[in-house]
């Protein structure tokens, strides 16, 4: 092998050896005691439309890019946007309110935003190629500790139709993406949070039957991806509670979201249920 190739390999090796920030403490109110995602773990946020997944993602994003003075972790984040749903204006308003409550000025907003990298993908082929290119990005940014994918299920129907009648062809592209991600996780030890949309409506009224919600929550993506996921966070909407008479009209209308987080790692199979509501300043746990 020539000199150039050796230099490339050495660079990669150094980038891998440097430990990336562990995100175990990214949100202690979401994960149970000591159950936060360690190096190389994947968290899947699963839920129907309007259950607060994107809000939660923005909350975690802000937690990572904000400076330590504002309660952040100061790590770089790569956001892979597969369904063009990234609302930068909403994200900036959350960052802004957190920075002002911590008393920091404008420049902190720019520096926080510069820690965020955004990639748009419009097909699973492009996603696969982008993940291959991710290796270069990981090498050049040792502080990149979090990969957010919103959402991993965006190309499900497109792939299913393209694959025709054979299930293995349908799942081929996403399986390749999952295998590639697995290799990158092992080598570079970052963390992944990915959202996954439901494809079936749970036929629920106010009293949801147990079997129908289980049916709607069953994972449907390919096996390689399911093997990669170590934490599963099920998001759902809670029926609007009756607040006390003292609450304002705004508070009474606030939608409360419920998250059920379960971890399937080799440690204790713990699970935890928490609730939050979405305010102007982002997610507020109850």
């Amino acid at each position: 092998m020539l000199c150039g190739g050796q230099l490339i390999r050495l660079n990669e090796l150094l980038a891998r050896l440097e430990a990336r920030r562990c995100l175990k403490d990214i949100e202690p109110r979401l994960f149970s005691e000591d159950e936060g995602p360690q190096h190389g773990e994947v968290v899947e946020l699963y839920g129907a439309e309007g259950t607060g997944k994107t809000e939660l993602l923005y909350h975690l994003l802000c937690r990572c890019v904000l400076p330590e003075a504002a309660g952040g972790l100061e790590v770089d984040v790569l956001f892979v946007d597969t369904d063009y749903s990234l609302d930068m204006l909403r994200l900036v308003s959350i960052l802004d309110s957190r920075l002002t409550s911590a008393g920091l000025e404008e420049a902190a907003l720019r520096s926080s935003l510069s820690r965020l990298l955004v990639v748009h993908c419009s097909s699973s082929s492009q996603l696969l190629l982008t993940l291959h290119y991710l290796e270069t990005t990981l090498n050049s940014r040792p502080s990149l500790a979090l990969l957010l994918i919103d959402s991993i299920s965006a190309f499900y129907w497109l792939d299913r139709c393209e694959g025709g009648a054979s299930i293995s062809r349908q799942e081929e592209k996403l399986s390749k993406c999952a295998e590639l991600l697995g290799r990158l996780l092992r080598d570079y030890k970052f963390t992944i949070f990915a959202t996954c949309h439901t494809i079936r409506r749970s036929s629920s009224g106010s009293a949801a039957s147990c079997s129908s919600t289980l049916e709607a929550d069953r994972p449907y993506l390919c096996r390689p991806w399911q093997r990669l996921v170590t934490h599963r966070v099920l998001c759902s909407r809670q029926e609007a509670e009756n607040h006390t008479a003292g609450g304002s009209r705004e508070e009474k209308r606030r939608q409360v979201f419920r998250v059920h987080c379960s971890s399937s790692s080799s440690r204790t199979k713990a699970s935890r249920i928490s609730s939050f509501c979405a305010t102007d300043a982002g997610v507020q746990f109850i």
């Binding site: 092998m1 020539l2 150039g4 190739g5 129907a48 439309e49 309007g50 994107t54 890019v65 790569l78 956001f79 369904d83 063009y84 749903s85 609302d87 930068m88 204006l89 909403r90 900036v92 935003l113 510069s114 820690r115 965020l116 990298l117 955004v118 990639v119 748009h120 993908c121 419009s122 097909s123 082929s125 492009q126 696969l128 190629l129 982008t130 291959h132 290119y133 990005t137 959402s151 190309f155 129907w157 497109l158 299913r160 139709c161 393209e162 025709g164 009648a165 390749k176 590639l180 949309h197 439901t198 494809i199 409506r201 036929s203 629920s204 009224g205 106010s206 705004e250 209308r253 939608q255």
Partner: protein, 358 residues
């Protein structure tokens, strides 16, 4: 390979064509001269090793391939790097993206103050807004109102994709005449509304893809397009859903992707309409299922308002916000279809002035 019913035979020609188009849209085949170093001989040896597309080359083990095709590892590595750089999506810094958004995002008023209040001052460019409602709930009327407002007051072009056949120029002219009495202005405004009439899902998908690939400017004859209205998406997509066929879902998602990328790339506001179905628990919910529900950023449900004292059929409608990233959900506003640009719930002073006008 594909289940084909009797009714499908008529469309089987376009079915196959649609499938072929899908293949070429997502996978990139290797071609001679695609990048320096990829000459005819190398291409033939790669094809012999079953590497047909860029994705195959990028995913394969280069040492293995260089042994099989007897090509130098260095040459393959540099080809792979160039191909990746050509076909991958590049990461953009959050700060740059925000600056760009600040300068390109605009809020388009719908011409209806009640709806504007629900939508937090109007339709945002770069996003899809959905209007759902049962038959006769006023979805098309609201779409006409938006088209008329954008072309007359904002003087911007509108692309209107009509899949139900409900759009008539005479109705648009009527609405324009109630806003302005200047004949020339009315004609100019009508010319800024560009109508596409399609009645099946494949044409919808093809039309939207063509618009997204740069046809917007062409279609509008050089004018700047600020709104794209699709009335209605569910009319052509919902007959294809259900059963074990995946084609319908895939067409829906392809149309959605085309709309989203159009909205983002060209900074236009997209408004789509949808029908409603009965959900579990008896409530009314927008149609097209769970997979479509993630597509629009904002969703509004239109309903008739039954006020017994009015006797004859009322023109009052109520709009409920069912999904929004900016406002608390389930806020309701009422408005009168007859007076598109005037709200029922305005202050009494304004009301008197309205009555004096008409």
């Amino acid at each position: 390979m594909f289940a084909c019913t009797a009714s499908d035979k008529a469309t089987s020609g376009s079915f196959a064509l649609g499938f072929l188009k899908l293949i070429s849209a997502t996978m990139v085949p290797l071609q001679e001269g695609m990048c320096p170093g990829l000459d005819g001989d190398l291409l033939r040896s790669l094809l012999a090793a079953d590497i047909r597309t860029v994705e195959d080359l990028v995913s394969s083990d280069l040492e293995d391939v260089s042994r099989k095709c007897s090509v130098s590892y260095k040459a393959l590595f540099s080809i792979r790097r160039v191909l990746l750089a050509q076909h991958t999506a590049f990461p953009v810094s959050g700060a740059d993206l925000y600056e760009e958004l600040l300068s390109s995002t605009a809020i388009i008023s719908t011409g209806n103050p009640s709806l504007d209040k629900l939508l937090d001052s109007g339709l945002y460019t770069g996003e899809i807004t959905e209007l759902s409602g049962g038959p006769g709930s006023g979805k098309s009327q609201v779409c006409f109102g938006v088209a008329v407002h954008v072309s007359l007051q904002l003087k911007q072009s509108v692309i209107y994709v009509d899949t139900t056949g409900g759009l008539t120029a005479s109705r648009l002219l009527e609405m324009l005449q109630s806003e302005t009495s200047d004949g020339d202005e009315q004609m100019e405004a009508l010319q800024r509304i560009h109508v596409f009439r399609l009645f099946d899902a494949y044409s919808l998908r093809d039309c939207l893809s063509a618009l997204r690939r740069g046809g917007l400017l062409q279609a509008s004859g050089g004018g700047s397009v600020k709104a794209v209205i699709v009335d209605s998406v569910s009319a052509v997509i919902s007959p294809l859903l259900g059963g074990k066929q995946n084609e319908g879902m895939s067409l829906m998602i392809q149309a959605a992707v085309a709309l989203k990328t159009m909205a983002k790339d060209f900074s236009v506001a997209v408004l789509v309409t949808n029908h409603v179905t009965r959900g579990g628990g008896g409530g009314v919910q927008p149609g097209l299922g769970a997979s479509w529900s993630h597509i629009p950023r904002t969703r509004i449900l239109l309903e008739r308002v039954d006020r017994a004292p009015s006797g004859c059929s009322s023109t009052l409608r109520s709009a409920t916000l069912i999904k929004s990233s900016r406002q608390p959900c389930h806020i309701k506003e009422e408005f009168d279809l007859q007076r598109q640009s005037r709200s029922v719930r305005s202050s009494s002073g304004k009301r008197k002035r309205d009555e004096a006008d008409s």
